[in-house]
């Protein structure tokens, strides 16, 4: 037992940040999963994460707000922005929506760069107190999973899925498309904001470069790679994509090449992502 504790101490000292990042990335993957589950291909989650991170960090830095309040601010701010842009943007279909929301991300980045007196511009925000503890991330993850799982089983979850499969048919079942999509979009933004604030209060520093195109695509990749058929998929995807570069660290210069290769291989050989209940049923022969 002592040996274990000693080992754990050492493990935690080295990997605490990695473990917490896993949790935060899982939140991000879930935030985009929510909109994907509603058939909405919006890639604004990186921007919402950024808005949340800045809002939360500014609350902490400038107003000495307690952590809980900063988190609250970090969830509300992106939700409001999502509400404002949601109505016009969600009219767009498929790929155009994806691209418009990526464009929105750029706008957010430029705004942060140009509001130097508040956001520090390119220099970012420094010296954010490290409030985020392991249990904050765990709690956030548990609550989000709980809420999403309950939501998934409720009438709203069914409506989301119906919209995803066939918008027209869903609307003719009395499902309000705009309201439901907006709900998914806003909730997703709140979760992304939560992740942003947890991250900001973990890493002492945030800068505008962190919430751009690459992060947006990374979040999407986590969800798709994990599989979007159930709530487990995005979490698995986040864990996989976060751990992969660390596991490959020993490969030194070849690390990223192998990383890319594995990404392609997963997409090629696991059609529905890493977590695919249908495949498991096939493999283990049960099911109806």
């Amino acid at each position: 037992m002592d040996a274990f504790l000693l080992w754990f101490d050492e493990f935690w000292a080295v990997y605490s940040n990695l473990v917490l990042t896993l949790g935060i990335n899982a939140l991000l993957a879930l935030s985009i999963w929510l909109t994907l589950a509603c058939g909405v291909l919006a890639l604004a989650n990186a921007a919402f994460m950024g808005i949340g991170a800045y809002a939360g960090a500014l609350a902490t830095l400038n107003y000495d707000s307690p952590f809980a309040l900063s988190i609250g601010v970090a969830m509300v701010a992106p939700s409001l922005v999502a509400l404002a842009i949601g109505l016009p943007v969600l009219r767009l279909g498929g790929v155009y929506l994806a691209m418009a929301t990526l464009g929105f991300g750029e706008v957010v980045r430029v705004v942060i760069l140009n509001t130097e007196s508040i956001t520090g511009g390119a220099l970012g925000l420094n010296g954010i107190p490290q409030y985020t503890q392991w249990w904050h991330v765990l709690l956030a993850l548990v609550i989000v999973i709980f809420v999403l799982a309950r939501l998934h089983r409720s009438k709203t979850g069914r409506a989301f899925e119906a919209i995803k499969v066939d918008e027209t048919a869903a609307s003719l079942m009395g499902v309000d498309l705009r309201a439901n999509k907006l709900l998914a979009f806003v909730l997703g933004a709140a979760i992304a904001g939560l992740a942003g604030a947890l991250n900001a209060h973990l890493t002492f520093f945030i800068g505008p470069q962190e919430y751009g195109f690459d992060r947006g695509v990374e979040i999407l990749t986590m969800a798709i790679l994990g599989g979007v058929t159930s709530i487990i998929g995005p979490i698995i995807g986040a864990v996989f994509l976060t751990l992969l570069p660390e596991l490959l660290r020993g490969l030194a210069d070849f690390r990223l090449i192998v990383n890319g290769f594995i990404l392609v291989a997963v997409v090629l050989f696991l059609p529905n992502g890493l977590w695919d209940p249908a495949r498991f049923r096939r493999w283990f022969g049960s099911g109806r």
Partner: protein
């Protein structure tokens, strides 16, 4: 200043259009957002650089080599990655993610082979300096880019209109399944398109790195962001759209710098993009009812 800015905008717009051509071709025909296009663009630049530096070939030969090598890379991507995904009818986001993996591989391979340093073509491969007339300056590379963009565009447009392969391509873009029923070799067309789109990307890589005087492993990534903006503006998958969208973005950026302020450049460019999408949800040339994703 206005006239010089006009030239600046024209050449920058052509740069964007040139990059976006292959990008939009892949989307139009294969229905894939190819996020490896930036990497293919980089491969073309390095291929030509090696040809010029190691084999001491003239620039036109280097362009041909870039064309072929990038084209082959594009072909390989199609055969090894996109085609298997097509066969199992993967939803269109899946190939996009696969191309991210390809881009990571190509970018890091380039860094491993050539190092992370910014390189450039040796001076003198193209006429240096600029032509001056009435206080206006334009370089040979700029003229080349503008001319080539227009030539490629015209060739592609005429090719699509007039030739049988063009007609087949348009049928495929409309609906691959229906085209297959009509007896068109859809897979073959996808291969050819992949080759040509990547080859054009490679040529763009050479020209743009001559223009910017910089070749580095991640040079394709910033262009990719611009390329996405361009093809949305123009309407995804539309060749004319790539030209118009490219020029539009070039003019928007240059004139935002000239008359609004360079800090607002990207905000203006992307703000316009945003607005255009709100007014015309499928871009300037987009079809009213897009192909069901």
């Amino acid at each position: 200043m206005f006239a010089q800015q006009l030239i600046n905008a024209l050449s920058l717009g052509s740069v964007y259009a040139l990059f976006a051509l292959g990008f939009t071709l892949i989307f139009g025909v294969l229905g894939v957002i190819n996020l490896a296009h930036g990497a293919v663009f980089m491969v073309g630049a390095y291929a030509a650089l090696q040809a010029v530096v190691l084999a001491e070939l003239p620039i036109w030969a280097a362009l041909v080599i870039a064309f072929i090598i990038s084209g082959l890379v594009g072909l390989a991507i199609d055969i090894l990655v996109l085609s298997p995904l097509r066969k199992r009818d993967a939803p269109h986001l899946i190939p996009m993610i696969a191309t991210i993996g390809v881009a990571i591989m190509l970018n890091s391979a380039a860094q491993g082979l050539f190092g992370a340093d910014t390189l450039r073509f040796p001076p003198g491969v193209v006429p240096d300096g600029s032509i001056e007339a009435g206080g206006l300056h334009i370089t040979a590379v700029e003229i080349g880019i503008i001319a080539l963009t227009i030539v490629i565009m015209v060739v592609l447009l005429l090719g699509l209109r007039r030739t049988s392969i063009g007609k087949a391509l348009r049928a495929v873009a409309e609906s691959p399944r229906a085209a297959a029923l009509l007896g068109i070799d859809v897979e073959g067309l996808f291969r050819k398109t992949s080759f040509v789109a990547a080859a054009l990307g490679g040529v763009a890589g050479v020209l743009i790195s001559l223009y910017a005087n910089a070749v580095y492993p991640l040079m394709g990534q910033p262009m990719l962001h611009k390329g996405i903006a361009v093809i949305i503006l123009g309407g995804m998958g539309d060749i004319r759209g790539a030209l118009i969208g490219g020029l539009f973005l070039g003019f928007a950026e240059v004139f935002a710098v000239a008359y609004i302020g360079s800090t607002m450049r990207d905000a203006v460019a992307f703000g316009l993009l945003f607005l255009i999408l709100l007014v015309r949800p499928t871009g300037l040339f987009g079809k009213a009812n897009e192909r069901k994703a």
